[in-house]
Symmetry: C2
Subunit: 306 residues, 2 copies
């Protein structure tokens, strides 16, 4: 398959966009799409001081790279969680993140959790009931706390995270399964800062995970490929497996699901529909006499009349 | 495993209810639960004339059986769709339905689609663009039309259908994937009659499919086990496969998903949450000074303090 924009061989094909692109045009497209997404949701104005939450994974390093190329002045914050489990997970993640920042002359802040709080995240999880059942939940509380604190203390206006579409769709799915209204209401590409909570943005929320992975690979970013050993089999990941099956059957399903949600939320949820419903005008079909909302014949008579 | 209510061996175990039951107590439980569901959603008052939409499958025949045992006067309506495809699907379905009605002395009405409209449903689907892509959609339009017409002409107050929890959860999932607001607003265990549309009820909406199948089996109802050959691989069925995987990982997930939806809708969707959000009071955590909605220490300090 050829690139849509030049005679080169395509390096990646995005079936939901009907768009095969070569390496060079893909990197260009990806940066342009990030910029568009940030404009659409009013994320940044080039005035803010930005802190990027970096883990050493493909999403956060790609995000830092793209912000840098778009001339958004962003520092990085890495939290050493103390996850080892024989794989040196945290140490290797920090090493890759440091190298990335050095290559680009970017400023990296590091908070070492065990050094500051006297225990690693796995130790903390092990000693609490919540953490024994859901270690990722304990880690999330810790990270949110430290990111906000570091952003406030460092005088940053905004915290940027590398959450991609697969992350957002899985969280949305989970929030809908539980009908967690508070979480549904908070799930957004942009959260404004208020009362000591630094604002948050997710510039990659419209990219599939394979698109951020392709960006990192084609850009030559070295990132940690392994998943955190504690995340294996958690609810978010099992939901991702389900949504991937759905996507395989209905390409674009995840994107529609997430964007449809943002659209509906923006429109004040179902307020519009309920108003419409109240006025929905039923009248007898001129052919069969049964009630219909169609201006002419009802759906059945149109079907039979074919 | 023993029955929860007697020393008999359990015939079925429902893990989400922690309830193993023998044949006799299961049949009793199932009827009682149907009655409760009908009361909860205000479906019937013993005054209405009911028409049950029967297909010859486990759900609709079990529903007709349970309504009969609960002394709700219900006639049945079977639509001959003309589905054959070498399996004699429609003919076998009618035969089983007739036998069921005769055994109980119930009145069965039959509308033969090809006789009335000159072509079978598969033929109609084959001749329309909509039907070529989604034959089930054409069949749905046809059935809704005929059920409503027959109910009106026969002087029935209400149409009862055998939709189970698996059906409702799959439709809900699909409506959420597409954020089909009109459909979400209409999806309900009870639809009141209005302007020539006969009211509809779904007394089995809280039963898992395996529960209705168990009822039919333990009651000795002979039903058509095959699925309609045209339904294989349709979106509803692929969604059911995904939700079954979810249920296997998180028993009760489907029930929570559906009941949570009804609850949220009843509460005027997100209106309550949005109001609450507006007043959500952030104040500094007395220990770390970061903003929290908790009355005392923030989630992080409580975690660390453990």
């Amino acid at each position: 398959m050829r690139c849509r924009k030049c005679p080169q061989k395509a390096a990646i094909h995005m079936p939901h966009h009907h768009l095969p692109l070569c390496r060079e045009h893909y990197l260009e497209w990806f940066i342009e799409q990030t910029d568009r997404c940030m404009h659409k949701y009013g994320m940044l104005t080039h005035q803010e001081r930005i802190l990027v939450a970096v883990s050493g994974g493909k999403d956060s390093l790609s995000l830092w790279d793209v912000l840098w190329r778009l001339d958004y002045p962003a520092d990085g914050l890495f939290i050493g969680l103390g996850v080892d489990e024989g794989t040196g997970y945290s140490a290797r993640s920090l090493e890759l993140t440091r190298r990335f920042a050095e290559e680009r002359g970017l400023r990296l802040r590091v908070v070492d959790f065990p050094q500051v709080y006297g225990k690693t995240i796995p130790e903390l999880a092990h000693h609490t009931r919540r953490g024994q059942v859901r270690p990722c939940s304990v880690c999330g509380i810790g990270k949110r706390h430290i990111f906000n604190q570091a952003a406030l203390e460092g005088g940053y206006d905004i915290l940027a995270t590398g959450h991609n579409l697969d992350d957002e769709a899985a969280v949305l799915f989970s929030n809908l399964l539980n009908w967690d209204i508070d979480q549904l209401d908070r799930q957004s590409p942009v959260l404004l800062s208020r009362d000591g909570l630094v604002g948050k943005i997710k510039p990659f929320c419209r990219f599939y995970e394979r698109e951020t992975a392709a960006y990192a690979l084609l850009r030559g970013i070295e990132y940690i490929e392994d998943e955190c050993p504690f995340a294996v089999g958690n609810h978010t990941n099992t939901n991702k497996v389900l949504l991937n099956q759905l996507e395989a059957q209905q390409p674009g399903a995840k994107l529609n699901f997430y964007l449809g949600f943002l659209q509906v939320k923006k429109g004040g949820w179902l307020a519009a529909a309920q108003q419409k419903q109240a006025h929905a005008d039923l009248h007898p079909c001129p052919t069969c006499g049964q009630p219909t909302t169609n201006p002419g014949d009802c759906a059945f008579c149109r079907l039979i009349g074919n």
